[in-house]
Subunit: 208 residues, 3 copies
């Protein structure tokens, strides 16, 4: 139950990021709803297909459609800052990332996956929705933006969630603590422009 | 059986749209077959993965490969208007959209989904193949083109198909009537440049 | 067992292609690992979702994570030629294609698919990882590059693997022979710029 509520909140965060991107790209209100749905529900649908536990939750229970509807409405009515959309988008994206790396890992463990693949699936859930959002909108994914770290905090959060669950130390408060840590690392990395080494050393030294 | 025939016709329509896009982008004949297959079969494979009823139909029965082969052949031999490819592409895309929002919803209801997610899956089936086609060919998806409406007629068609099925009023003739309505709305929206409000109001007023 | 080893080698080949592309695009080391994982594991995950035999192997057994880790490390330390990355990328991509069209087809046959869809799924496995890699990195997919042939050797390899298996003539040595043939055809087609007819004849004559 707690897991479902955290999942719905994470869906809302990512849906806002999708609807904000739609607003920036001058998509219409239905495009906003669809891009928000893809961002919010895409990672979880991929996760549910992989754990093979029947129909993905987003298609089994209509309640999963409410967060994207709410997000598209809030963006349309400017309850959320479309003017400073880029900063707002990154904050909501970071919040979704932080929740999903935890909830995705727990869902995978509950489905019986080995702890290492469960953490991998948590990372997939966390980065999947944002990746789909950016690919479909023809943007270079945030995931591959070398300014700031994106996957690293999600890996840390998923690894912590998996490790603490396996050792019996996990509870809802711990899970929220892990999510807050992931969120803080992501936001700090953007604020201070943290970088990690580039994929190839020569190219790295040329690029810096 | 009727459902399968309508599905195969819808696959053919979307496959033509994919092969026409391949022709415009100067892909070769095999690229045409592959992009047509992705456009024609992609939405249905996603639907079948989500309803979790075994191997997706496109991979269970070789007959599903015939529409993309036919489409690539017709585009190659210019039996279909490659010269006016853009208009032809949009007409075939609209016809596929109209059929798939109905057949996708019915398939989902038959698999036991709740009527609301069934309509959502019908929309996913209808817009999925075209979305994959455009994303893979590195185009901004038709789905997000604010000129004309795309998802709205599909939502209307899927909602009607779901509602009429649940209330026992659905039969094949009604289904074809719903598809004709969806097709007409899509084509009229392109002809007269119908628009719906943009995702964010300020951006909308700036854009108009 | 042989099948799993060949699968892991194919994953490594595609993972190198993804990590090399990440290096060229100045993604960081984690982006390299993720793009390599997507290229290496994406085709097989799609295949496993379609054959519907439980959790995809890449998420069921941590050993599947080793090839992408190795690939990202080798690209980072320049053990593989980042300087001549494009040629190196195409060679590794061709090697992955050659192995996956064989292993993908065999996996599909073992799951009970009809020989024709099994070959289709082999082709999907072979071209899927590279397609995801290119789409996510916002490149026009190699699959649609009209210089050289890409899908044709994979179709030949998958068709041979399926036909030889059904007629009882398949064994590991034959499988490796088929993969070598596919690899040779792909490399020769790049070396000599082989082309096949374009998707639409008029456009073809204009383009040549």
């Amino acid at each position: 139950m707690t897991l479902m509520i955290l999942d719905l909140i994470g869906i809302f965060f990512f849906a806002v990021s999708g609807s904000l991107l739609a607003a920036r790209r001058n998509f219409d209100i239905v495009g906003s709803l669809l891009l928000g749905s893809l961002a919010g529900l895409g990672g979880g649908v991929a996760r549910d297909l992989i754990i093979d536990q029947g129909v993905p939750k987003a298609f089994a229970d209509p309640v999963y459609l409410l967060p994207p509807l709410l997000a598209a409405g809030l963006v349309f009515t400017h309850a959320l800052g479309v003017q400073r959309y880029r900063r707002t988008l990154l904050v909501f994206d970071a919040a979704g990332l932080a929740l999903f790396c935890v909830t995705g890992t727990l869902t995978a463990l509950q489905a019986g996956l080995h702890p290492v693949p469960a953490a991998l699936l948590g990372v997939t859930t966390a980065v999947g929705g944002g990746l789909l959002r950016d690919v479909v909108a023809n943007e270079v994914p945030q995931l591959f933006n070398p300014r700031g770290v994106y996957a690293v905090p999600a890996m840390l959060g998923a690894g912590l969630a998996s490790g603490l669950s396996v050792t019996g130390l996990f509870n809802p408060a711990v899970g929220i603590g892990v999510a807050v840590l992931v969120f803080a690392l992501r936001i700090l990395s953007l604020r201070y422009g943290w970088r990690i080494p580039l994929a190839g050393r020569t190219v790295a030294s040329a690029g810096d």
